[in-house]
Amino acid sequence: MSEGLIARLRAPLRGRADLSEILSTGWTSLKAAELARRPVRAEEPLTVGELFDVSGEPGGRIRFEGDLALADRVGAGLSDGEVIVEGNVGAEAGMGMTGGSLEIRGDAGPRAGAAAPEARRGMTGGELIVRGSAGPEAGVLMRRGLVAIAGGAGSHAGAGMIAGTVLVFAGIGAAVGLWSKRGSIVALGPVTVPSTYRYACTYQPPHLRVTLMRLRTRYALPVEPRHLTGFYRRYSGDLADLGKGEILAWTAE
């Protein structure tokens, strides 16, 4: 398999840039020069080639190099292929993803994997992996897919979820899973469960082992034996809405 394309940031970003149009339509077979012509929204309209030095051969993979903390909507609308970002990203990474994988090897800003402001639903597929921490509202309104955050997550993670999985290794902020209909929020670290969720039981969810094994083997995330063999407190909710969702909180008991 080809190493794919590499997009190296030519110079540090001086203002916010919206990368939502780079990977939102078929890109996996594009040559470097073709991808370089795609637009980037910024204070002044740019092309990918003006921001990045794009090289390599198409192979369904692309790696972004450089500090993209000011770059928003990285991997937005992704439907296929493998995207790796070697560093931090701005807001709304993976917004509206439908497939493929987006791996952020740094921190993600607010609303990673969330719905676009005008959309009723967020991610409908794919895997969004954040090796660092994520800002508030990760996975808001997601309909399907996986958001896995190796660090912590800000407030309102998984709020309004329709389905899918948000999995957080460290602490999660307030109002997690508020107004969710279905879906799983997995808390491997500290979590405060909203009062509209109700405790069901403490058990070992079999599906979680499959997800954790995949995160360990495919992405080398820090899945520990205690995560695999341990027990989880299951809370059903949000009972103020459909109530078919769950928060699975790892417990040492």
Binding site: P206, H207, R209, V210
Partner: protein, 301 residues
């Protein structure tokens, strides 16, 4: 051809195309994975009376299963595509869903021909079931009194081979059994192969049809029954007093011939007179496993 004094007949085993599914069962311990696998593969020796043929393919370590737990790989075979879904649903539903701590996965991922299993079993959840998409595959979480049963929505199905066989003709029942046990032992854990009969061994080999009852599909293979040597057209050489058969199914012809090679080699031991195979003149089954050709291959596969 002789192997350690055992004559290898110049004949072939005739086998059929069947459908095969691979079922991965995991559980909290090896004990419960095996319990489920044994129940799943129970009463599945022959499609003639059991509607399917099944056996444990091999034991799986924690590194070989989707959830990192101990597991068992089972092959289940049917004659037709339509049968496969029915057999999987009834057997997984009755034997794996019911077994403590188990989960059940498709062992043929990526195979295009797929049959719904979890999509039917989910209804046991009575509306409380939930699905989970993981890496593009849908799984069903069915709430049960113990906790949750996880089963994959669809299982892959391939064309496989059923009815590979060889017969061990021995001087005594003890010698036949010892040789058959030795053969079954070396064949049992080979990937892609199952031995669906008890312990992998058949004492009641059959012929097609019946001399007396037209509606019978199969009846005793009188030509190989030692007690009938004097009253039927016997195929038994002098000195043979007991015959046992090894029947094997597999995912492909290569798996069958490889297993037959090591099995026949193991069966060639003291007290065995000859090894032969069952066929129907080559007119019924498309797969022909010629014993001498298999045994003249340079090294066991």
């Amino acid at each position: 051809m002789n192997i350690r004094g055992v004559f290898i007949e110049d004949t072939f085993a005739e086998a059929f195309t069947m459908r095969v599914a691979r079922i991965i069962i995991t559980a909290r311990s090896e004990r419960w994975a095996r319990e489920a696998a044994l129940k799943l593969t129970g009463f599945a020796t022959s499609v003639i009376g059991c509607k399917c043929e099944a056996g444990i393919e091999r034991e799986l370590g924690t590194g070989d299963t989707p959830d990192g737990r101990p597991g068992q790989s089972v092959l289940l075979m049917t004659m037709g595509k339509d049968d496969m879904g029915k057999r999987l649903i009834e057997r997984i539903g009755q034997t794996v869903l019911t077994c403590p701590t188990t989960a059940c996965y498709d062992g043929l991922p990526g195979v295009p021909d797929r049959v719904g299993v979890g999509s039917a079993l989910k209804f046991f959840g009575d509306g409380f079931q939930a699905s989970k998409m993981i890496a593009g595959e849908r799984f069903w979480r069915i709430p049960v009194m113990e906790g949750e049963f996880l089963v994959q929505e669809k299982f892959g199905m391939l064309k496989g081979v059923g009815g590979g066989n060889f017969l061990i003709l021995a001087r005594s029942a003890d010698a036949a059994l010892a040789a058959a046990e030795a053969a079954a032992d070396v064949m049992a854990s080979r990937t892609g192969v199952i031995l669906p009969f008890p312990g992998g061994i058949v004492r009641s080999g059959s012929k097609v049809g019946s001399r007396r009852i037209k509606s019978m599909i199969a009846s005793t293979n009188d030509a190989f029954c030692p007690t009938l040597r004097a009253v039927t057209t016997s195929a038994l050489p002098e000195g043979v007093n007991s015959v046992l058969e090894i029947v094997l199914n597999g995912t492909d012809a290569e798996a069958i011939s490889g297993a037959m090679r090591v099995g026949i080699d193991a069966a060639c031991r003291e007290g065995v007179v000859s090894i032969t195979a069952g066929n129907y003149g080559g007119k019924l089954g498309p797969h022909h496993f010629h014993l001498r050709k298999i045994m003249s291959a340079e090294a066991p596969a």
